[in-house]
Amino acid sequence: MTTPVLEIIGVSKRFGDTLANDGISMSLGKGEIVALLGENGAGKTTLMSILFGHYVPDDGQIRIDGEELPPGKPRAAISAGVGMVHQHFSLASNLTVLENVMTGTERLWKLWSATQAARKKLVSIAERFGLKIDPDARLGDLSVGEQQRVEILKALYNDARILILDEPTAVLTNIEAERLFATLKDMARQGLSLIFISHKLDEVMAAAHRIVVLRGGKVVAGRKASETSKAELAELMVGRRVTRPVREPSTPGAVVLEVRDLGVRIGGVERLKDVDFALREGEVLGIIGVSGNGQVPLARVLSGTLARTSGEILLYGEPVGHLSVGDVVDAGIGRVPEDRNGEGVIGEMSIWENAVLERLPAYSHNGLVDRKAGMAFAKSIIDAFDVRGGTPASGTRLLSGGNMQKLILGRNLSHRPRILIAAQPARGLDEGAVAAVHARILEARKAGTAVLLISEDLDEVISLADRIQAIVAGRLSPPLDAGRIDARRLGLMMSGDWSHAAEATHAP
């Protein structure tokens, strides 16, 4: 075998008391795609930041084509041919694609920018790798997937031969993710070498040639994709056998929430139309669909943050008018919003404040907030829901996504809600956290809570929901029982082909 293009040899990095990277060694061959698999906090991002020169390692070295890379110098990494695609894009939304790509690539004091030459180079790279893009489009007008394409093009424009992608699919829809992996494979065929960081088993199996598993800052295993399985990888990654909880059969009770002909218009655009469903005690109703089909307005109407334009909502059999957030909380409806950081918690505030914010009247006396009671409540959530990495008084922003979600679930489930609206509850979480969130949702179901699960994750819906309805272009399909459903039928439902999906259900 020829010399690998990239070698990481015995790299260690310590932050305070934590050893983020502990003697990590790995290599990358030309034209190879390696997935770096690990849970959040396993040290993946630290390792890649060292490689790209953002951090100086305490020990070890990095070699590119056999030559040692000077540590801590991003410019040196760039000129050695390393390109990094960050999870949070380093782009400016008010500048054009070309301007974003060109920044910093020319001598600063040149009297003019060679825009034409740069445009030509960008277009030719874009064509070579099938990354279609309009160089003069304003970046902010592009979709997230297109913006990621710009981020990749930026690295290629700097003549990157080794591309590092940090959780590239975290912000993409399923279709965009598939397209991305097709592009990455094509790049590898053309001689580029790629490392991508991920905690999603499906995608590492599908896209990588080789998988390096990281746990607790150490390399625990390296496997060829063809010689391993999802189950083995999950166990290696978490360090124990992870089993997602299983839904036990149950008999649902009375209908607690019924929606008839619900319609929502926003700015003249029909976002929801003729939506019908009924939610019963002790069941999970799954709403499956590709994101952007009306999930957000649906969740918001039921959470009291958006007014419906038409239709009826019956809560415990009684028709209700406009729901305010206060009404919703008082009615015993728990909410897990899709955008954890934006709507779920206020990052700047402490954990206890976030815990009591939606029930302030219950936690205040004579107009003053009862801090003690709030802290005690937060402590009980932290204990009961295994929220790690924070105390009642510490900032909420410091929590990882999984722990933040446990806090939000805890805040809702501690009050034994009769209804729970959970939107994309496990999105972006690692295996361990997904299992925990799912277990909590099933626990609530067992306790009699009616759960509306809005999700675009097929596995999640199949494993949690008793009945499933698909959401397509603002409409809901008729419900199908989970027992008679499989991935193919769900696919038909999600594409809007409801009659075929229903027929398929009747077939044995």
Binding site: H54, P74, R75, I78, M84, H86, H88, F89, S90, L91, A92, S93, N94, L95, E99, N100, M102, T103, G104, T105, E106, R107, L108, W109, K110, L111, W112, S113, T115, K154
Partner: protein, 313 residues
């Protein structure tokens, strides 16, 4: 109507517009440069006052006029260093730092002025810039007196606007400035140092503001008094928004405001029975309307007023 026409047809109006616009052009360009890199510079009002004072003082003590302008520019640059220290290095609130610089620079200029020039009935004067006679052009009928009887700094202001437009949109350093104002983290990832870019733009921008101030004492008038900037700095801050952070439009905006101002001055003298204060207000009211019309489409630099700290997101 004929009154309006008479005013518009007088060469004096157009000459006045350019004269009134000059300090606004310098000030607006200075503020615009800072904001393009993401730093709001509310020190402008004070920096203009100080530039007006120190430039005048230099000339009063025997320096030639251009040296006076240079001294003003250097003083502005120093205030720029101060503002950068506060907002870039220390990452303090840009509003508060800027207002602090304004209060400090305004009072400091009066203090220095009083140290050197004792209280007197009539303030001492200097010999200001004289209109330049441009061969052929200045002697054209109407056009000559209207547009080619300005002093050198006025032409300089227009040239600076054009140069700045070119730099911002057509050079690598201009792109680096814009990227820093939009997303300093992205700039850093591409090898541009956002701290240096912000220091540079705030220093150069503040120098331009001070030159705008010096125009008041070395060309428009011939003496200094502490209240002479009269809110021009704040007008410049508004003009930057009106101009959507584009130097060409900043030039246009400054001229438009100057047009309102010169026009109302002349209207005062010919329209009777209306208190002159009403006319004084009109340029500002019209400016608010113009701002409301123009600025709604404006694209604010995304990182404006956000301190940059390395390694944070």
């Amino acid at each position: 109507m004929s009154v309006v026409f008479d005013i518009l047809a007088s060469a004096g109006l157009w000459a006045a517009i350019l004269r009134i616009a000059t300090p606004l052009i310098f000030g607006t360009l200075g503020a615009l440069l800072c904001e393009r890199a993401g730093v709001l510079n509310l020190g402008i009002e004070g920096i203009m006052t100080f530039g007006a004072m120190i430039g005048w003082l230099a000339v009063f003590h025997g320096a030639d006029l251009w040296t006076g302008v240079l001294v003003a520019a250097i003083s502005g640059a120093l205030f720029g260093v101060l503002h950068s220290l506060l907002t870039v290095t220390l990452g303090l609130s840009q509003h508060v730092s800027g207002l602090g610089v304004t209060l400090f620079a305004s009072s400091f200029s009066y203090y220095v002025f009083r140290l050197v020039v004792p209280v007197a009935g009539t303030p001492p004067t200097v010999m200001p810039f004289q209109p330049i006679d441009i061969p052929a052009l200045s002697s054209l009928p109407f056009i000559g007196p209207a547009f080619f009887t300005q002093t050198a700094p006025t032409y300089l202001a227009i040239v600076v606007a054009l140069i700045m437009a070119y730099i911002i949109f057509h050079t690598p350093v201009g792109l680096a400035i814009r990227m820093t104002g939009e997303n300093p983290h992205a700039a850093e990832a591409q090898g541009v140092n956002p701290m240096k870019v912000r220091y540079g733009t705030v220093i150069v921008g503040s120098a331009l503001m001070a030159v705008g101030g010096a125009f008041l004492t070395l060309s428009a008038f011939n003496s200094f008094f502490p209240t002479m900037v009269q809110g021009r700095g704040w007008i410049c801050i508004a003009l930057v928004v009106f101009a959507s952070w584009r130097p060409g439009r900043a030039l246009f905006g400054a001229l438009l405001f100057a047009f309102f101002d010169a026009f109302q001055l002349r209207l005062q003298t010919v329209v009777e029975g209306v208190p002159y204060q009403i006319f004084l207000m009109t340029p500002y009211i019209l400016s608010i309307f113009a701002l409301a019309l123009m600025a709604r489409r404006a694209r604010v630099p995304q990182a404006l007023m956000q301190p940059y700290r390395r390694g944070e997101r």
